[in-house]
Structure formats: C-alpha cells, structure tokens
Amino acid sequence: MDETDEVTRAVRGLAGAVTPAPEAALLVHRGVRRRRRRRLAVAAAAGATATAMSVGGVVTLGPGDAGPADGDRRVAVASDPEPSTPTGRPAPACPEAVAAPPTRAVPDLEDQRRAVVRLRSLSSVQVVRAVPTPLGVVALVADDGGDPDLTLPPDVVGVLRAAGARWAYEWDPSGPAVGLDAAAQVRQVLAWQLDPVVADLRRATAGLPGAAGLAVFPEAGTVLLQWRAPVPAQVAALARDEPGEVQVVVEGVRYSERDVREAGQRLWDDAGLADSPIDLVSTSGCGDGSGLRVGIATAVRDVDGWEERLAEVAGMPVTLVVEGPIDELLPAG
C-alpha cells in the first residue's frame, strides 16, 4: 500500500493517538486473576449442580456458563469462588459474585422444542444452532457467502420467524477460535436482549440514592437490581416478571455502591495501615451487598482482629481475602 496514501496516514495516525497509561498492565493482571477465579467457581458450581441433579432430580437452567467467553462484568454462579482465607477456615459469607436469582422456567417449552425441530429442518436456511430459552427460541444462521455487507437478509429473517425463531442472528464461524462457541453465541444473543432493559433501569434510577449494582443473567433472561434497603417504592416498582420477557428482580441489600466505594477509600487513606502487616491489594463490595472484601498480599495472624479493626475504619463489615502479591498472581511464564 502506498505510504503516502491519505487513508494509510490517517489510520496510522489514529492508531498512534493513544498510549496505555502505567496502570494498564496492572488492570490486565487483575482481570486475569478474576477470570481464573470465576472459571474455578463455575467448575465448582457445575459439580454442585450435577450432584443435585443426580440426588434430587433438580432441573436447572443455570446461568453459570462453563464456556470461557463470559464477557459480563458480573457472572452468575451457583456457588461463589472461595479463595484461600487467611486461616484456611471456611470462607465467610461475602461472595465475590452476585448470586443468581431463582431459576426461571422456559415458557412454552414444548412449543419451542417443536420450533427448534422445524428450524433445523429448513432447507433454504442453514440453522447452525437453535435452542429454547426463557426469552424464546434463539437461532444462529450460517452465512451463505452472499454479499458480505449484509448480515441476515429480510427474507431469511421472515423464514426463521415463520418457523418459530424469536431471535435470529448470524452464526460467527470464527467465534470458536476465540472462545465463542455455539453455546456462548446463544448466550451473547440473550445478553444483548438484556442491554436495553439495563439502560432503562439506569435511566429510571438515575440520581436516586442507594444503588447497589446491576447484574445480568443472560441464560435466565434476568436482570438483578440491587438497592440499599429499605428499597424505595419507586425502585421496587421496576420489578417485572412476564413469561417470555426480560425479568427484572429488585433485591434489597445492606450497602450501596457508594457506601462501599467510600468505605474502601477510607481504608486506602488510613495512614495507620502503612506500618501494619496489612498490605492492601484491592477493595470491592461483597456480591450480596453485605460489606467490603479486602484483598491483601499476604496472610496475617489474628484475622478476626484485623477484620474488626478494618471494619471500624471502613464503617462496615470487612472480609479479608489473601490475593497474593501482584507479581505472584501472574500466570506462570
């Protein structure tokens, strides 16, 4: 390509217009650590679910995704990751992730199953994946190699709709190479349907004090809105549960996001910790809104005593979690 080409110069200029700040690498390492914990938790949750099914016949449409492609900031897991605690005791009740709301049934499951059979037998459209979901049948369709500017032409959408698909998206054949297998792509389609609801909730609650967080559970078609109790009537009224539609669950919790943020800041600002064995690595809210999770680099003696002392500074219950020094948390090279 011509080095003097206007397009070439402009694109290179755009690429060079940003540089990473020093903390970028640290954020990546934290992200890796968090993702590894979640994967462990998902594996644990999957084991627990399998046990429950074999013993009690519990049928779940669990939102925990064993696939590596979870793009959500919060991942629903049936049981929380339990990193090592300073004393090796059972982990306290301060989960890192938000617990999933009760399982939702798939509405009209038999109808959806029949639709799936129809979709898979279509000759004019290649349906790679079709599955019943709480939000209706999701169909992923192979690109037929036509005009690359088009995604799904209207006539194809019409065929799929007639066969019973509620959501029709193009199958991404390159997805599995980057962790987006068929199940993950279906999950993504469901997550996209939650986005407008999340935006609506943000708009409806803008400026109201007490917000404690939003969590999405794509497979369940559920958005969980946590709010500091007592939940105002205006917020409680946002809950909704209609079959086939996105469900909104409003849950009262003890502390708001702001409460947690300010509590964490008080710890970081506490000069008294500088000469103590407490080497802060991170602070974050418990997934159930019950207090503050405090990550520390190395284990300390008298965990209960330190949690109590830190709680006095923070102004809310504190759970210590040994995360290790940042350097040791990196994947082995």
């Binding site: 397009v7 694109v11 755009l14 540089t19 970028a24 991404d172 054949p173 407008p196 090279g333």
Partner: protein, 164 residues
Amino acid sequence: MRQDFAAFVEAETPRLLGLAHALTGDPHDAWDLVQESLTRVGVRWRRLADGNPGGYARTTLVRLNIDRARRRRRETLPGEVPERAAPVVRIPLEDPVEPWLLEALAALTPQQRSAVVLRVLEDLDHAGIAERLGCSVGTARSHLSRGLSRLRERAPARTDLGGT
C-alpha cells in the same frame, strides 16, 4: 523461548491499543477490547506461551470488535453510556486524528473497517486478513476493496504533494 506474561503484556499493550483505537475510534472502547483480549490470553497463557500469543491476542481483538459492532448495529441502546475511566493516555502535543477519518470509518461495516486497519497497521495480505476475520480470502478481498474505496471517497484531496 517461553515468554513471561508480564513482559508480553508490557510489550503488546501499546500495539494492541493502537489497533483497537483504529478499529473503534474510541479510547474507552479500545481499552475494553485490549483488556478483554489480554485477559483471554492470560487465562490460556500456559498453552499459548510457546506459540504465537500476540497473533492470538490480535485475532481475538479483531473478532471481539466485529462482534461488538454487530451487536451495536442491531440495537439502538437508549440512554447514555456511563463514563468509564480507561487507562489510556492520548498524546497531548497535537491531535493526530484526521477529522474526516472517524466519520468515514464509521460508515464502513465492521468487517470492512477491520480489513482496512489490518492491511494498514499489520501489513497483512488478503490471506492474513481472511485468517483474522475468519472468512474466505475472496470475502476478505471484497471487504478490503470496498472499505478502501469508501474511505478514499471521503478522504480530502491532498494539495501538497509537490508534484506527481
């Protein structure tokens, strides 16, 4: 030789960020893509370290961006996107972003944009672009050709070439 993940992140982040910024035109979105791509590399590091983790990261980033763009094309999200603090620094001395470019890039399909950016920044041929996009060579050629054509239609005519 087996690489160290920390060194890999240190070395690759600027390049990935540039690629992501050219793909998205937005430093926050660019950072999101970089972080997600590097995170995916990180959790698979033991498997990738002896191979081509940089290629894996760039392919992942490009595909994630196409996915993100497809998602946005199909929906109009109400409300404003909340502000996020991305660990991204813009070069302060002058703004090297051509004013017409963002608008022109936004007019391309995600695949066309990716093809152009990969050609310009990564110097990939049609086969390389096809591999990154996960499509046939013919389709990659079509994306690149149409993308470049559309961009050049919108590029301002240069008046300072100083000759032919």
